[in-house]
């Protein structure tokens, strides 16, 4: 177990290192730099030069990279060129919303997705199956803002059940979580269905039937836990996507999360923020995947990490 942990940590470090190199390359490759944004349209040549010097952007790229990494290793992700806040502060400011949003939408998406998937599998080739799958596909393919606006118009604007936008506690995250969760639910439903169909064919299900088990027992005790294993991978992957990919939802619901931060940081070329944030997200994604792997061992005793 511990050597496995070591191995994971090692690959994690390599991956994060790779991400850092890639981020650094890319952010320097793309045109525009933070100076342009800070100084705006009316900047003069001198002020640009001066600010570049002050921010250290005039140094050779490798020097910039290593001095950045040197600090980063010590836990200092730097200070935003744009806002004056430290990157850690920025992340801490936003992480509660993003984390909650990701969590709630995962919960919502998994539960609905699994239910839909199970129903579709159990009622294979019936109208329920087709309905469930069309529902799932709509969840996958409908533009996010459609769903968001529809929910807002109905539940917030007309029925006044939820706030329209902004963050004011759990209540305000319900609609955004549903919006985000629907896409997840769609993929999970499809995965659950096919995985359930596989499991239902297995010999041990026949054994359970031969024991005299009823259909609920067959589905929930015997099939689901086996069927859920590939679904868990998907959930893990979705989590990574939710961390960064919630931009549209965050925008529509005016939620200050990591997604909108990364977009604005990219558009302002706020190098420290982009870098810090991506390193953080890469670490989060890797950690989540790690947790998912550990979860595997709980779900599937056959899998063991040595």
């Amino acid at each position: 177990m511990s050597s496995y942990l070591f191995k994971r940590m090692f690959t994690m470090i390599i991956t994060i290192f790779g991400v850092s190199v890639l981020v650094f390359m890319i952010i320097h490759l793309i045109p525009g730099n933070p100076v342009n944004h800070i100084l705006g349209d009316y900047a003069t040549e001198e002020s640009i030069k001066e600010l570049e010097m002050r921010l250290g952007l005039d140094r050779p790229i490798l020097v910039q990279y290593f001095s950045y990494m040197f600090q980063a290793i010590q836990g200092d992700l730097g200070t935003s060129y744009i806002t004056g806040y430290t990157v850690v502060e920025e992340i801490l400011n936003r992480i509660p919303i993003t984390a909650q949003l990701a969590l709630y939408s995962i919960i919502f998406g998994s539960i609905t997705g699994i239910i839909i998937g199970v129903v579709a599998a159990v009622k294979k080739n019936t109208i329920y199956d087709q309905l469930a799958m069309v529902l799932a596909l709509i969840g996958i393919s409908a533009p996010g803002f459609w769903i968001a606006l529809f929910l807002i118009l109905l539940f917030s604007y007309q029925l006044s059940i939820f706030p329209i936008s902004g963050y004011s506690g759990f209540y305000s995250l319900i609609l955004p979580s549903i919006t985000l969760g629907l896409g997840t639910a769609g993929s999970i439903a499809r995965m659950t269905r096919s995985s359930m169909l596989d499991v239902i064919k297995q010999d041990y299900i026949r054994t359970a039937k031969a024991k005299g088990a009823g259909s609920y027992r067959l589905i929930f005790r015997h099939s689901l836990q086996n069927a859920i294993i590939p679904v868990v991978t998907l959930i893990g992957m979705q989590f990574g996507y939710l961390m960064a990919g919630a931009v549209v939802t965050e925008t529509v619901f005016a939620l200050p999360g990591l997604g909108s931060l990364i977009v604005s940081a990219i558009s302002t070329r706020d190098i420290p923020t982009v870098q810090g944030l991506l390193l953080f997200m890469a670490a989060m994604i890797i950690i989540v995947n790690f947790v998912v792997d550990l979860l595997y061992t709980k779900l599937d005793p056959r899998i063991q990490y040595e």
Partner: protein, 298 residues
Amino acid sequence: MLGNNPTSLVYPDPIDIETKTQSSVAHFIKKMKKNKGAVVGAMILLFFIITSAFAPFIAPYPVNEMKFEDSLQGPSMAHWLGTDEFGRDIWTRMLYGGRVSLLMGLFAVTLSGTIGVILGVLAGYYRKLDIYIMQFIDILMTFPSLLMAIAIVAVLGVGLTNAMIAVAISVVPSFVRVVRGSVLSIRETEYVEASKAIGVKDWKIICKHILPNVASPIIILATLEFGSSILSAAALSFLGLGAQPPNPEWGALVFVGKSFLSQAWWMTLFPGLAIMLVVLGFNLLGDGLRDALDPRSK
């Protein structure tokens, strides 16, 4: 003891009666035809492909002609799906937009599929390369596709092709993972081992044995990714990274229409529906393909 005479079969072997050798293509089509979902999916796609292909002949109006006096009109006999803020016919623009969007999906899937299959096969077949390739893929996966897209467009310049490349690259990891997984299991099959035992060279084994047998997961993934590529491309065009105005790519139409949602719902609804239908069509077709390619299914 009853006699034995291995060759004197008085009556034809029933197996010979039964299995008329059927070309695999015909068999495949037959299987597809029986799958209702696949047929519906194929019909949806065919509809969009044909209408897009013949857009210049079908479209009732010139695609970019502005008629300000007709702006923001709802669906009517003159404009089936209404008009946009410049009085351009939405139906016309969707027809032309289909050419871009469908090609975009095709290109993205082909490109990412090619790269993904190559990397996946290398990683799965040559175990020594595996760790490096997968590490690279992990890095790619943890990377926000938005930043990747901006970077690619920044390096290669704005334009449809480059946006497609960006979309394609973000899809590569899923292909690599799927292909690698399949290759890993096929590599261990006895028919691959048998070929090795005969002395067949590696590249021939890959081409003749590995690739044809990973085809079905690849095709399924491709049909899934086709739809999502169109969606990602749409998101890019929202940021100005994809199709440039006034190019009526579907995603762009959806996002432009969003600004007029309260006055002209048709501007975003119809292109959005088109995307959803295409995604639906591809998924249905993909499911059908999976069944048809499964040798166990009849």
